[in-house]
């Protein structure tokens, strides 16, 4: 049901763009106004969310320690999994952000007769997630060519790498294909793994369908439907330099659909779980050193609390203490 609703929503988005261009002729709205509005929403929204997180205090030092602590000099510390220094934390975060280290250690279990529980490593989610994020990233970076003139040289090398298969005309770029495959995998596992289906909300399916449709429309545009690349680049350069001077009618509808889907995605990010891309950097169980026995950590809102003092305790038990031979303050 959640999946279906999300699919319908994404189809509706495609139709809106189609009708908006083909029937209502709202080229300026879809080519200029909506992209600007989306980028503005994205920037303001993401900054707002990040600032809100950043301003929330971290009262306690609560890293999840995943290895040996730093203790006696002859005991080998797990410097990445249980960091006690900033460099260790940075290493841990880099591995987490770029290589999804925690997911790499994922396991699955099986309850057999006996009972006997067996654990095995499972890397599919890690692999799918890594493929998805990295290909998405490469696709994004590739799009820089639309906003720059001349195109920076590093993009050429990325494209050469990306097109290493050297098949098809225009040459197949592996990143787009991987993105589509990976996002499809992430969708299928949501549908076919019972536990994951059980926990999935519409807010989980929607971004998957949205990204799927972005990738599909992009691939259609590149390989199957002829689009006027020169006009598109004129538009994108114009958008980047705040001076759009191209005749928007020359660009075919598939481009507008693609652009509208991308705009929706960007505008949606601040309100969605996709914010995890910023949140992961601020997660106190990962970005703090386990050093609170070595160095004092301050809680900015620490406040005095009511305690039961020793004096009160001794008043309660003085005679019993004396009888038991325990020294007291007041005889």
């Amino acid at each position: 049901m959640n999946a279906l609703l999300s699919l319908v929503a994404v189809i509706a988005l495609v139709l809106i763009a189609f009708i908006g261009i083909k029937i209502a002729n709202l080229h300026f709205l879809f080519g200029v106004v909506i992209p600007y509005a989306a980028i503005a929403t994205f920037l303001i929204g993401v900054i707002y969310r990040a600032v809100k997180w950043g301003r929330t205090p971290v009262p306690f030092r609560i890293p999840t320690t995943c290895g040996q602590q730093k203790s006696l000099p002859w005991i080998k510390q797990a410097k990445l999994d249980n960091p006690s220094s900033t460099s260790g934390v940075i290493g841990r975060m880099l591995l987490e952000v770029f290589l999804f280290r925690s997911l790499f250690s994922n396991t699955k279990f099986e309850l057999k007769e006996g009972p006997k529980i067996a654990y095995g490593s499972t890397k599919w989610l890690w692999l799918g997630g890594l493929a998805f994020h990295w290909s998405f990233f490469v696709v994004l970076v590739r799009h820089i060519r639309l906003f720059t003139e001349p195109v920076p040289s590093f993009l050429h090398s990325i494209e050469v790498l990306d097109g290493f298969l050297q098949v098809g005309v225009p040459g197949v770029l592996i990143s787009g294909v991987v993105l589509l495959l990976a996002v499809t995998y992430l969708f299928l596992r949501r549908v076919f793994i019972p536990e994951v289906r059980y926990i999935s909300l519409a807010a989980d399916y929607f971004p998957l369908f949205l990204i799927m449709s972005v990738a599909l429309s992009g691939i259609l545009m590149r390989y199957f439907l002829r689009v006027d690349l020169v006009s598109i680049k004129e538009l994108t350069i114009g958008l980047a330099s705040f001076s759009v001077a191209v005749s928007l009618e020359k660009i075919s509808v598939i481009f507008y659909i693609h652009l509208f889907l991308v705009s929706t995605l960007f505008a949606y990010i601040p309100f969605s779980k996709i914010m995890h891309l910023g949140g992961v950097f601020l997660s106190p169980t990962r970005n703090l050193a386990n050093n609170s026995r070595m160095e004092r950590h301050i809680n900015p809102w620490n406040y005095p609390v009511k305690v039961h003092t020793y004096e009160e305790y001794e008043d309660d038990f003085r005679e019993k203490m004396k009888d038991a031979g325990i020294p007291v303050e007041k005889e």
């Binding site: 929330t56 040996q68 925690s102 793994i193 289906r197 926990i199 070595m294």
Partner: protein, 568 residues
């Protein structure tokens, strides 16, 4: 080879037999979780907190209530109270705010929870446990949730949702295993702690938690041992030690000017096998000639406040530094305990420090300065003892433990909230000849909870405990079958209370021990008589116990039990 004798499982009242319990269906139900109201199952929940225990610590809404009742006797404006508390905590804890926002429901955590593995209840998947709270968060504090409602995974805070919270947030042991696997480190322990704080705003605790917390507040320890009971219990141990070793130990209590204050969970002073661990401490410190004192005021290392609210945890924890200051000690040594060490490692100094009236801990025996504890000034006894052994300061005869085949259970908090993994293993390997590790997916940072942590070690929720302990017990069973393991060592007082019934149920025949019981059994003391029994009074292999010895041992045990009954 002798025929193996199969010991029948000890099945707690009301709990199905192990074979029956192990038939677990993991297929999630067809209904959407949000639309499936909670159903309280007998054996899965604990009794509600008694009014007097809430009053002792000035907690709101003290009253007589039963969780099974329809009416929980809540204040009129309970929703307002909870939502206000929710907002306040979102503004105070970045962890809470971020963890409410960034979960992508990838499901990596789903099968990492011992309660899910043991029960198959989909709401025991860490992600759903958190969503119980997140759904209300979205409905009340996010734009998308307010506009889109259920579509955005949002829902209202209803009576039924509140009951669901209570049921499931007291089915989480705050073990943090899920947070190891989460790509963003989302920690369900953190979420459960917040949820329990919110529930406590309405007087909704379990009595197994609020009772010990109130005891600890007034009497200094969870068990409510008054000063003379503490010295009395230790006196019994000293009698036992004397009859076993021929040496009379004379520890001190509340002594000013001692070099070290020793704090350990009170469970070790009360019940077997924890008492044998406490005897281990006494023997070790005596042998070292350590200048230390026990305290009856700060007589609790553990902290059931931690399972209630941060504030109560801080109030209970304050006694340790206050007592160290009053007695004028130089530093503090802490016994074997799980959540006690998460509190000391990650909270104590922040709450109640700086401990600038103490000195950086230095072992008077080896001269080692414990650099890793230079701010809190509190050393874990496993660090202390490992250092002693490394420097050859202990005369050990591991052969005395040769009848034991030992495996080690990492406690949740000491592994995932501290990382003390090698120290206890180093000690065990030096005091025992036969040590075997369990499956690597069930130890160290991936260790499984005993199923009874975070205040769930009551007797009315035995089925939950046996289920939650299944992954741990099953990994023990594996090394029993492979290597003949017969002893499960640990460094946690709740483990020592919770694992024996768990073993009796799933893996009968396996004993449970603290690490320092093993140390003291192997420790050759100056001037000791030849040992014929271990600290439990059981004859060592090759020694035939005379009828008189056995009678004496049983009498001592009986005396101790009766004394306890009187106290209690």
């Amino acid at each position: 080879m002798a025929e193996e004798v199969k010991i029948p499982p000890k099945v707690p009242k009301g709990v199905p037999f192990p074979d029956e319990l192990a038939k677990i269906d993991y297929t999630p139900p067809g209904t959407v979780w949000m639309n499936t109201p909670v159903k309280f199952k007998q054996g899965f929940w604990c009794y509600g907190s008694k009014a007097k225990n809430l009053e002792t610590v000035d907690f709101p809404n003290p009253r007589q209530w039963l969780p099974a009742d329809e009416d929980w006797k809540l204040p009129e404006n309970w929703q307002e109270i909870v939502l206000k508390g929710f907002k306040e905590r979102l503004d105070k804890y970045r962890s809470f705010k971020v963890f409410m926002d960034i979960c992508v429901r990838c499901g990596a955590c789903a099968d990492k929870c011992h309660f899910f593995i043991g029960s198959g209840d989909p709401k025991n998947m860490p992600v759903v446990r958190a969503e119980l709270l997140r759904s209300v968060y979205r409905g009340n504090f996010t734009k998308a949730g307010k506009i889109l409602g259920k579509l955005a995974g949002a829902r209202e805070l209803t009576y039924s949702v509140l009951k669901e919270w209570w049921y499931y947030f007291f089915q989480c042991t705050e073990c943090r295993r899920c947070s190891v696997f989460c790509p963003y480190g989302i920690d369900t322990a953190e979420i459960t702690m917040m949820a329990r704080e919110l529930l406590n705003l309405l007087g909704l605790n379990t009595d197994w938690i609020s009772g010990p917390a109130a005891n600890c507040y007034m009497k200094g320890n969870h068990l409510g041992l008054e000063p003379h009971a503490i010295t009395g219990n230790i006196e019994y141990m000293l009698d036992d030690i004397e009859s076993i070793t021929g040496i009379r130990i004379k520890p001190t209590f509340n002594r000013k000017g001692a070099e070290i204050l020793f704090v350990t969970p009170s469970g070790d002073l009360f019940a077997d096998p924890g008492t044998f661990t406490a005897m281990g401490y006494l023997i070790l410190f005596h042998e070292l000639g350590l200048d230390y004192t026990w305290s009856t005021y700060a007589s609790e290392g553990g902290n059931f406040g931690f399972f209630t609210s941060m504030e109560l945890a801080k109030r209970l924890n304050s006694k340790i530094y206050a007592e160290a200051k009053r007695l004028g000690v130089k530093w503090i040594l802490g016994g074997e305990c799980g959540h006690m060490w998460r509190v000391i490692n990650q909270y104590m100094d922040t709450w109640n420090g700086p401990a600038d009236f103490l000195q950086a801990p230095k072992s008077p025996i080896t001269g080692t300065v414990f650099e890793n504890a230079r701010a809190t000034k509190m050393v874990h006894i496993a660090e202390f003892t490992a250092d002693l052994i490394k420097h050859g300061k202990l005369k050990l005869d591991p052969r005395r433990n040769d009848y034991l085949k030992v495996t080690f259970h990492d406690s949740c908090n000491t592994s995932r909230g501290m990382g003390i993994l090698e120290e206890p293993r180093y000690i065990i390997k030096n005091v025992c000849s036969h040590f075997y590790e369990m499956d690597e997916n069930t130890i160290r940072e991936k260790t499984f909870c005993c199923g009874s942590g975070s205040g769930l070690n009551a007797s009315e929720n035995m089925e939950l405990r046996m289920r939650g302990g299944l992954p741990r017990a099953n990994a023990v069973k594996d090394v029993v079958e492979k290597y003949g393991v017969n002893m499960l060592a640990n460094i946690c007082a709740i483990d020592r209370a919770a694992l024996p019934p768990l073993m009796d149920y799933w893996v009968p025949g396996v004993g449970v021990t603290g690490v320092h019981e093993l140390v003291a059994n192997a420790l050759v003391m100056k001037g000791e008589k030849e040992r014929t029994t271990n600290l439990r009074g059981q004859p060592l292999p090759g020694v035939v116990e005379t009828g008189e010895d056995r009678r004496k041992r049983e009498d001592r045990r009986k005396g101790r039990l009766e004394a306890k009954k009187e106290e209690g």
